[in-house]
Each structure stands twice: as C-alpha cells, then as structure tokens.
Symmetry: C2
C-alpha cells in the first residue's frame, strides 16, 4: 500500500508552486532544482496538473506555472486522483462505479470490508485537507484530521 511516484512528486510540485511564489509563478528549472527532480520529469507532472485544472501555465520569457485557484479551494483528493489514476483502485474486487458495486472476481469478496474501512479512513483525511492546511504547521494538520470521526460514525 503506497503512493505512486507520480502522486508523491506531483503533489510536491503543486505544493512548491503554492508556497514559493503564489503571484509570479515558478518555472520548471526552479521547481526541478527545489525538488531534486529532472526538468523532463517535472514537465511531465505539471502537464497532468495543468490538464486537471489545478495550475495555469504561461509561455515566453516571463512564463511559468501558477495555481489556477486559491489554495484553500484546492482539495488533495482530486489532485491525487488526477496524478495517480483512480484513488483506491482494487482491480478485481470493485468495478469502477464505486465501493458498493458487485464483486466480479471470487465467490465471496472477503477483502471488501478491509478495503472499505481503509478507504473510508483515508478518504476522510484527504477530503478535508486543502493545500492551505498543508502549508501550515503540523499541529494544524493534526486538528484537520480530527473530524475524521464524523465520517466514520
């Protein structure tokens, strides 16, 4: 169970843009240097983020990347979803219409309950987390995590 490279690095790039230069924008070389990724790789990741509507780009001498919306309007879950394909894909257990759909694989889908429990938990966390939350201290993030209960109970 882990985050894909695209999810991790893509999110890093997005956060970097949000933190470093909300007005002027950042260039690929700048992000590349800051995050220790190659320029080609950063370009690939930013393309995904742009097509997902999270960032805007401009070309030319003063070009670069900016957030497409205010940080507090960007949710983590859709970002991860755009970067990593489906959130919580479980190839055989669920078809792609949702957790409750019918299992097409084994006679009784014994893994479903675990998947559902974990999905609930992570979903609750990511859905509540906005970029702005992440840019602040960890204490604040902890408090953002608390409302988790609302979703579980």
């Amino acid at each position: 169970m882990k985050f894909s490279a695209q999810e991790e690095y893509g999110l890093r790039c997005l956060l970097r843009i949000a933190k470093e230069s909300p007005d002027d924008g950042l260039t690929i070389p700048e992000i590349s240097a800051a995050e220790g990724l190659t320029q080609a790789n950063v370009a690939k990741l930013l393309r995904i983020l742009r097509m997902g509507g999270f960032i805007d780009s401009s070309r030319g001498q003063t070009g670069g990347y900016k957030l497409a919306k205010k940080p507090e309007e960007i949710l983590i879950a859709p970002v991860l979803s755009a970067l990593g394909g489906r959130l919580f894909e479980s190839s055989f257990c669920f078809d792609h219409s949702g957790v409750d759909s019918i299992c097409t694989h084994s006679i009784d889908c014994s893994v479903r309950s675990l998947w559902r429990a974990v999905q609930n938990a992570v979903d609750a966390v990511t859905m509540k987390l906005t970029l702005r939350d992440m840019m602040n201290s960890e204490e604040q993030v902890q408090s953002v995590v608390t409302p988790l209960v609302e979703t579980i109970n």
Copy 2:
C-alpha cells in the same frame, strides 16, 4: 494510492485458508480455483506468506496450507507489509527508520504532514483488524474502525 496485486491476492489467499478449511488445510489447486488465480501465482504468494510465518505448509498426498496461528492472533498490517514490501513507503520523504526521521530530499518536506495523517488513519484501521474480524460481517468491521479516534487524538 492503491494496494499492489500481491497485497490483494495474497490477502485473499490467506483469508481463503482461514475461512474454508481451518483444520485440514487447503491445496494450491483448491485456492487457485476458488480465487481465479493461476496455480503458479498462488504458489508464489503462499511462499511469501509462509516465510512471513503466517501459514504452515506440508507436502505429500495429504499436504496443503494451514494458518500458523489462530486467526485472532494474525494482524492484517504485518501481512500486508510482508506481501507488499514496506507499508506506506514514501521513497524520498522518509528514510526507512520511521515517519519522524529526517527528510533527505527537498529543502522542506511539505508532503510529510499529509503522509503522516494518512498513515495514522490507515495504520489505526489495519492494526485493529484481525483475520477473525474480517471473517465476520461488515457491521463488525465498522465497529472495529471506530477506535480510530484513539490513535488520532
């Protein structure tokens, strides 16, 4: 963010053994047929589970696989860990000694707080889930998820 194939299928095999035949044990062909996986693939997965100490195997005409311990003594988290490599590996952000270790990658590790929050959530779920819980109804699983709060707060 997803479970690897090994995690999913390996866990399926383990659950199958736990449910179907706690006393006699199950053979590779039986598990293969029940889960719709090839025998070669099942053999590979069971090898991992055996080396992790979750199941015992015996050869010969009456051979097969059984749980190595009582179902209620087997935790899900170590099983997933054995199957999928590291639980919640985040290649650059953390080294492998733990969540709190120093980030060796970017100047400030802005993704850490998200990773930690998600890890806490999932960890809390999986750690509380035993095989026996999973073998019962989903209602029970939901109640297992509730204690999540204890970990977060």
